[in-house]
C-alpha cells in the first residue's frame, strides 16, 4: 500500500483567488492542499490550475464528501471519482474525516458527529479499509471538531482513532484547531487530549481559525470556521505537538473570508519557523 508522504514543511490550502499571485510570485510553499470535490468537474479552469500547481508543488488531496462515518455503505461512484483524481494528480497524500455527511440520498454538506461505540468502530474501520483498497494507498483520517456528544458513546475519541489506525493501518490527520475547539466545547483539557492522541500515526497536521460563541448556559461554544487566523492557544498546542514529534507536514486551512496571498504566506511562514526550530539538534 502506497503510504502518505507529504514533506515535513508548511503548506496552505489552494484557493483559485490566489492562482495568479502564486504564478507571479512563487514562494517556497511546502505543499498545497485542495478539496477533492472541487475538482470533480469534467474540465475547465479548476483542472488547468491544479495541473499547474501539481507541476510545481507537493499536493494533498483532502476529501470532504465521502461520509466515512456513515452507517450506510460508501458511495461507490464517489470512490471512483476519488480514484480517478488520485490517478490523474498522484497526490502525496489523501485524507478524509472521522464524520458523516450523507444520509439516504441526501448530501448534508457538513461534517457531522458520530457516537464512539464498538458498532461505529467496526463500521468506520470497514469503510477505511474499503477506501484504502480502492485507492491502493494509505489514507489519513482527521479528528473532527464537534459541538455535542452522544449518550451512547463508550470509547474516547483518541482511543477510537488509535484503534482505527491499528486495525486499518491508516494514518491520522491531527487537526490541532479541532482539538482545541472540541476540548473547549466538551469542558475537557486539550493538552490531555493530545497526550492521549496516537501521535506516531500522524502524517499531517491542520491549523485554522475558529469563532467564539456561547451555548444557552453561558459555556463557551467554539465554531470551526476556517475564516480567520490561527488562535494563540492553538499555536501553543501545535508547538507542544511538534516538540514531541519533530517536524510533520502542517497545513494552514483558510476556506472562508479568504485573505490576500501575502497574509496566508505569513501564516505559513509562522508554521515553517516552528518546524525549522524542531529540525535543529536540541543541544545546539
Amino acid at each position: 500500500m502506497k503510504r502518505a508522504k507529504l514533506p515535513a514543511d508548511a503548506g496552505v490550502g489552494f484557493k483559485p483567488e490566489h492562482f495568479t499571485a502564486i504564478a507571479q510570485e512563487p514562494r517556497p510553499i511546502g505543499f498545497f492542499e485542495v478539496h477533492a470535490e472541487n475538482y470533480m468537474g469534467d474540465g475547465g479552469p479548476p483542472h488547468a490550475q491544479l495541473t499547474r500547481i501539481r507541476e510545481n508543488y507537493a499536493l494533498s488531496l483532502h476529501g470532504v464528501g465521502l461520509s466515512i462515518g456513515s452507517a450506510q455503505d460508501l458511495d461507490r461512484d464517489h470512490l471512483v471519482r476519488l480514484k480517478s483524481l488520485c490517478t490523474r494528480y498522484q497526490p502525496e497524500s489523501f485524507s478524509e474525516h472521522l464524520a458523516w455527511s450523507s444520509h439516504d440520498t441526501t448530501f448534508l454538506n457538513d461534517l457531522l458527529p458520530l457516537p464512539y461505540t464498538q458498532e461505529t468502530l467496526l463500521r468506520v474501520a470497514e469503510h477505511v479499509d474499503q477506501v484504502q483498497e480502492t485507492l491502493g494507498r494509505q489514507m489519513l483520517l482527521e479528528n473532527p471538531a464537534t459541538y455535542l456528544l452522544f449518550a451512547e458513546s463508550t470509547i474516547s475519541e483518541t482511543e477510537f482513532l488509535a484503534e482505527i489506525a491499528r486495525r486499518t493501518s491508516c494514518g491520522l490527520l491531527l487537526d490541532v484547531n479541532n482539538v482545541f475547539v472540541s476540548a473547549t466545547n466538551h469542558g475537557l483539557d486539550a493538552a490531555a487530549y493530545l497526550k492521549a492522541f496516537p501521535l506516531a500515526h500522524v502524517g499531517e497536521i491542520h491549523l485554522s481559525g475558529h469563532a467564539v460563541t456561547q451555548d444557552e448556559t453561558g459555556a463557551p461554544l467554539l465554531i470551526d470556521t476556517h475564516d480567520t487566523q490561527v488562535a494563540d492557544p492553538v499555536w501553543a498546542l501545535y508547538e507542544s505537538v511538534i516538540a514531541r514529534t519533530g517536524p510533520i507536514a502542517s497545513l494552514v486551512e483558510w476556506d472562508d473570508n479568504i485573505p490576500a496571498w501575502p497574509v496566508l504566506v505569513r501564516e505559513a511562514q509562522a508554521v515553517q519557523t516552528i518546524l525549522d526550530r524542531a529540525r535543529r539538534p536540541a543541544a545546539a
Binding site: E37, G43, P115, Y147, L149
Partner: protein, 258 residues
C-alpha cells in the same frame, strides 16, 4: 442503532420543527439546542453559500440578504443528492420562478438559467474548438447537408427579457443604467479556451443554433431561422459561429461523402 441515530440526526437538520434528537447531549445540558443548532446552521448556510457562489449575479440583483433567505428556503426543501456541489441548484430556476417574494422581478429565473449555463460551461470537458476557416474548404453545394457538433460548453439561453444586458450590467461588464430598450434577448454561452464567454445573439441565430444542436442539417436549420426572420443572414451568422468557439466538428451527410 447507528443507522437510527443518523436518521434522526439528519431529519431534524432539515426539518426545524423537529426537536433536537434524543440521542445527543453535552456536558452543560442534556438538551443542547444551541449546539445542535450549529449543525443546522452549518448545513443551511453552507449550502446557501454554495448557491451564492454559483449564482453571483442573481445574488447581486436581489441583494445578499434576500438571496440568502431565498437560498435557505431552497436548500432545506431541495438538498443536494451528490457530494459534488459543482452543479448543485440545476432546479433553482424553477424554485425562483415560483418564489412569490421575487415575483416583481419576472426576468430573475432567466438570469438563474443563464448563470447555470455559465457554470456548466466553466466545468465542461476540455476540447479544442474547430478551426475558424474549416467552412471555407467546403464547397457550397454540400453546405445544406452539413451537421454540426457543438462544444460541451456551448448552450443557448432564450429569454423574453433583456437578460444579457441585465447580466452584463450586474457582472460589471457594462455600466449600470436604466434599460431604455426593454426587449427579448438570447444568449450564446461558450468556453472556447478557459474563459466563459456570454454573447447576445439574434432570435434567428438562436433558432438556427438550437436546431443545429438538435442535429438538424444546416439546410433544415436555415429554413427554421428564415421562418422567424425573413432577412436572416446565413453567411454572417455562420462566420460568427465559426469564430465563437462553440463548434468542435462539422460533418457532411453520409450520402455526400462519396
Amino acid at each position: 442503532m447507528m443507522s437510527i441515530t443518523q436518521s434522526r440526526f439528519a431529519e431534524a437538520l432539515l426539518d426545524r420543527t423537529r426537536p433536537v434528537p434524543a440521542e445527543v447531549t453535552s456536558w452543560t445540558s442534556s438538551e443542547p439546542v444551541r449546539r445542535y443548532g450549529v449543525y443546522r446552521n452549518n448545513v443551511a448556510s453552507g449550502l446557501a453559500r454554495a448557491l451564492a457562489a454559483r449564482f453571483p449575479v442573481t445574488e447581486k440583483i436581489v441583494g445578499e440578504e434576500f438571496f440568502t433567505a431565498m437560498a435557505r428556503d431552497f436548500v432545506l426543501t431541495h438538498p443536494p443528492t451528490s457530494p459534488v456541489l459543482l452543479h448543485y441548484g440545476a432546479d433553482f430556476t424553477g424554485f425562483v420562478a415560483d418564489f412569490v417574494p421575487a415575483a416583481s422581478l419576472p426576468y430573475l429565473p432567466d438570469i438563474v438559467r443563464l448563470e447555470d449555463a455559465q457554470i456548466r460551461a466553466y466545468h465542461a470537458r476540455d476540447i479544442a474548438p474547430i478551426a475558424p476557416d474549416v467552412l471555407m474548404r467546403i464547397t457550397s453545394e454540400r453546405m445544406s447537408g452539413l451537421s454540426f457538433r457543438f462544444h460541451p460548453a456551448a448552450s443557448i439561453v432564450r429569454s423574453a427579457f433583456p437578460i444579457v444586458t441585465i447580466w452584463s450590467m450586474n457582472a460589471g461588464l457594462l455600466p449600470l443604467a436604466p434599460i431604455e430598450d426593454w426587449r427579448a434577448e438570447d444568449a450564446l454561452v461558450t468556453r472556447p479556451e478557459l474563459s466563459v464567454v456570454t454573447r447576445q445573439i439574434s432570435p434567428g441565430s438562436a433558432i438556427l443554433l438550437l436546431a443545429l444542436m438538435r442535429d438538424a442539417t444546416l439546410g433544415e436549420a436555415f429554413d427554421e431561422a428564415l421562418q422567424a426572420d425573413p432577412d436572416f443572414d446565413l453567411g454572417r451568422n455562420l462566420a460568427e459561429l465559426m469564430r465563437s468557439g462553440a463548434l468542435v466538428d462539422i460533418v457532411a451527410e453520409p450520402s455526400l461523402e462519396a
